[in-house]
Symmetry: C2
Subunit: 319 residues, 2 copies
């Protein structure tokens, strides 16, 4: 059976009633599971995770788009996270028995339907991008919802599907395919955003840091501290432990400490164990070969300081 | 007055008599100074540093090429460092009152002369490169002296000056212009090259590490330990302290420590002070504003653990 992970992000993270209505078409379907939805009040955004057969996902995803269109008005939206559409981004990620090329085809199929049915302009991004300058989501999203009205008229930014005109309340969406990515945030015991910003610059590719890290600062209103929020685009080449330790090292000059960290969405098992292996080695030990999924989860909480984490956030625990 | 740094590297690091004969044309000249020459037995390579007016350097450099051609036979050369010519590389680096474009022109002038006078094929590299695939020296040098005989016949690797045929004893040379670069090596208390190799992979751009780091492992026969040898292409974006601390962090998993480090050639003053500022901040202090050049040198030795270092290796101390 072909398994993908599909992770739509919607621009609503505060009104739980609306969120539930929007995700309803994705619940209790044959062929795939709605693994989680994680509303974030500060970001005013919800990350939704589906796992299963991509073929079965397309029609429910179209209904989900319709609900997001009807219930979210981007003109009213504010939040800490950059965004350009009611459904902001939809990546298809190969997990088992499926190639990235097949994922690209599912992305195109969904794009065609939502642009045709609801007049939503679609940009194909990441591995589905048709041009080099659409590979990086932040490049497409630059200007955000507010700037997109003008940007989309620039021939360079003509959408891949739909007219060169934003949907008045929905905005635009990026749909694509990519390899597994870790959305990971490291919490700092300060509320000085400048500290998080300077640390983010040290680690992210765009300012000279690690090749597969996109990072920025974020202030969490509810918890009253800042975090370095990041995407890890290749967790094999930029393992978690290296990022955590580099963040600790940079934080030292400000007298700031790492208190905890959080994985948004799911994480592959080997992403955790590769980093546990480092901390075990530092202590002169080896990670046991017969380690159970429960133990991995426990160590991730204790050693990598994952907060709000449980075994269901490990991809392999859901298969 | 226009000031450049020019750093020819020759493929002889063992026979001091030969080295002295080769650099003789560069000594006691008007308009520039021979700041240092640093033979390395393990690398079998000498890094020569000139500072001053580039106009005055060209004719002495041509004589220096002639001596290297007469005294070095690349067919007999072996050493730890990759190389393709008797003079392996000559970069011109803008220091004061001179643009990178002017440096490119001096590089071209020298290239034209040595190719014409001695039948030495020249590749223009770095900022002087005529094509994208000649920007990185390692790409040009791949295959080294031994492989160049064939490589140079490939139309892609036609030299920028001279015939598509290596000089039988000299080989080929890369001449170019670039911004200041730090050649920096970090010593480890192990002789296991695999450890240095794995740490190099963690920090270098080509395998996912920091954007401006080229790095590899090297075993130092004389001192019987390995080091992570690197070029820092932009020391403002990838400061020394960040690299040192990341190397320490990676070394930990092997029970290995950083014992010292070395700067090959010269280093700008602010490259040292930017990193001292980090270590001062970690201790809750500020770097004194009225710090002297002597104190900077002393702290570099104590805190950054520079070995074989003295004030003359700071560029500004030579102006």
């Amino acid at each position: 059976m072909k398994i993908v992970q599909c992770v739509p992000n919607i621009s609503e993270g505060r009104n739980l009633e609306k969120i539930k209505k929007i995700i309803e078409p994705l619940q209790n379907q044959n062929g795939f599971k709605l693994i989680s939805y994680e509303p974030d009040k500060d970001y005013n955004r919800t990350v939704i995770t589906l796992i299963g057969d991509p073929e079965s996902m397309i029609i429910p995803l179209i209904s989900f788009f319709e609900r997001a269109k009807d219930l979210i008005d981007m003109n009213q939206h504010s939040g800490q996270h950059p965004r350009m559409g009611a459904v902001d981004v939809v990546p298809f990620i190969p997990i088992q028995n499926i190639s990235i090329e097949e994922c690209i085809n599912y992305a195109k199929s969904l794009a065609e339907h939502v642009s045709f049915m609801y007049n939503i302009p679609v940009f194909l991004y990441a591995k589905a991008a048709q041009t080099k300058d659409r590979e990086q989501l932040p490049d497409i999203r630059k200007g955000e919802f507010e700037g997109m009205k003008e940007k989309i008229q620039d021939p360079t930014w003509k959408p891949d599907y739909g007219q060169a005109k934003i949907h008045p309340t929905f905005g635009v969406v990026a749909i694509g395919a990519r390899l597994p990515l870790i959305a990971y945030n490291i919490d700092l015991d300060t509320n000085d955003e400048k500290v998080a910003s300077s640390i983010a610059k040290a680690i992210r590719k765009s300012s000279g840091g690690f090749q597969y890290i996109q990072a920025g600062p974020a202030y969490l209103q509810e918890r009253d501290h800042v975090q370095v929020t990041m995407n890890i685009l290749d967790y094999k080449k930029n393992p978690l432990y290296r990022i955590i330790e580099t963040v600790k090292m940079e934080a030292k000059r400000y007298g700031v400490h790492v208190t905890s960290s959080e994985v948004v969405g799911l994480i592959p098992e080997d992403c955790i164990t590769d980093s546990l292996r480092y901390y075990f080695a530092v202590e002169g030990h080896k990670l046991p070969k017969d380690i159970t999924m429960d133990q991995i989860c426990q160590y991730a909480i204790e050693i990598l300081k994952f907060r709000d984490f449980d075994i269901k956030k490990i991809i392999e625990a859901n298969l």
